[in-house]
Amino acid sequence: MHDLIQQLIIGLSIGATYALIALGYTMVYGVLRLINFAHGEVYMMGAVVGFHVTNLIARWRLPLWVSLPFVFVTAMVACAALGFLIEFLAYRPLRNRPRLVVLITAIGVSLLLQNLAQMWFIFGPTPQAFPPLIPQYSKTFGTPPNTITISNLDVLSFGLSVGLMAALAWVVLRTRTGLALRAVSYRFDTSSLMGINTNRTISFTFMLGSALAAVAGVVDAIRYDVKPLMGLMPGLKAFVAAVLGGIGSIPGALVGGMLMGLVETLVKGYLSSAYADAVAFVVLIVILLVKPSGLFGRYVPEKL
């Protein structure tokens, strides 16, 4: 039993990261009907920025309550800017082109960022450990061998995800910009007729999603390490999570992310660890066959 609880904790901790990244996918799809394949690389860039910033401020020996938010905020701002740039340079010029063209462009941006990160002046091709920022400690409950261990990073990851999603929910539901976002997701052309600056709203959506991905990137960088290709698998799995939850639905991204984390961990723990990555894609196929609109999505038939 304790084993199951431990696996659930691991799963939720991983799932929290997937949820944060999935939010970016789902919001961008909502407003633009575009699957932003470059989003995984934004997550990676968040980790890279966090890495460099932490190295830079190391000599100032700031207290943790200053350095930690500083690193996160810097990464969020940098990735928001990156997200804005990607949208402005790569997707906006293709706004009226067929969706396939933009999709291929997104893949191109993804490859570009992956290879840029491997250049010496950005990060380099060799994985590096994150410089010391948070002391990592774990708390163990129960008597050996029936122990359950929770690490402070698990708590941080989960807490940040839930907190940021609550903040996102507030922005989307209670602010005018959020209203504009929902309007553009609902009907693009009509919302511009209603006086909404669609370009600005779309930029805002990209920046928001990218900032969340940056948080996930920094958390994973601290937990594991920083590698230029670290965005590949989490990006794909978060995409599946977004589809699972219903692409375009924000609560769907949260639930989808948590579910993906749990499924991956339970498969690793109880079935076979060899299939853990494969199961993510099996989930994608199954959900598209059984309920393509996802758990929270609505099936909107196209009226021709």
Binding site: I10, Y224, D225
Partner: protein
Amino acid sequence: MRWMTRTAWAALLVAGLMSCKDKGASRPSNEILIGEFASMTGQTATFGQSSHEGLMLAIDQVNAAGGVLGKPIRVITEDNRSDANEAVTAVQKLISRDHVVAIIGEVASKRSLAGGGVCQQYKIPMLSPSSTNPAVTQVGDYIFRICFTDDFQGGVCARFAVKKGWKKVVIFRDVANDYSKGLTAGFRAGYENAGSVVAEESFREGDNDFKAQLTKIKSAGPDAVFLPAYYADVVKIVKQARELELNVPFFGGDGWDSPTTLAAGAVMDGCFFANHYSPDDPRPAVQSFIKAYQAKYRKTPDAMAILGYDAGRVMADAIKLAGKAEPKAIRDALAQTKDFPGASGTITIDERRNARKPAFVLALKGGKTSIADTINPE
């Protein structure tokens, strides 16, 4: 006006393509060109860096003594970024653009297998300094190695496990890795009768989170965990195991050998790994190599370095024996390597193009290794 933008883009594209320079199309005949493909960067960067440093030390020594056949040896190094596909591209470039007469590489069995296919196809002899998967030299008669194979190394690990009294062992192996597969098979063969493998779990090289599998391993209650993997994953796995209060010894093979493992410090205490060499080996050949290496690079060499060094010397010796810098002759000379006094041991290349060398089992404590066992080939 649109043509101006388009012309600007076209010019930029052409400039970009032209800036990719071609490094080695010329063929000076007053040098012997040897190719090296190594993982200088990427997931297993220390493997390539160490073996490269060892190789260059050997080549510098050879060239300082007048070179081979009256000519200096020049090594052209290609970085494969720890990727098997890049390894294939690197070897193809070395053969077709740089026209090397022989190739040294690689450390990782997966990349040796990839590069070996190309070398065999083009009939360029390839000498692997430290790939241990038996399949590497089975690619063809142009592929050689100067280290032991995983049949032997797996047996060494199994013997050590039995000696330590570990009756229940879990194997935690890397599915994406040929080295891990071969070493697991070698270990199982040696351990089957003496103890029981209570569970076998797997992960993928480059994975970040192993806690799910480690939780499962913990509940199997083993005496030790066999971890035939590369150092980057090893350090992460042991660290996460300790976080989960899984405190049994972990042990593995030569893939553990890296400055990164030592730098991990106390978290690796109580773990063991089989290896080709130990810096505590008192033999004069080893100690003089360590001194020369420290003089040049200011750090203690690891197994990949000493094997890279021996590979360079064996290659130089083979070229001398061949009498000419020509791939087929070098290949035949390599096949005849007998009792070569290598720093890592006496190297004789047998009919299967492998070498029979002794192995050490090293214990880790406080970021340092010590010899726990020495096993000679039968």
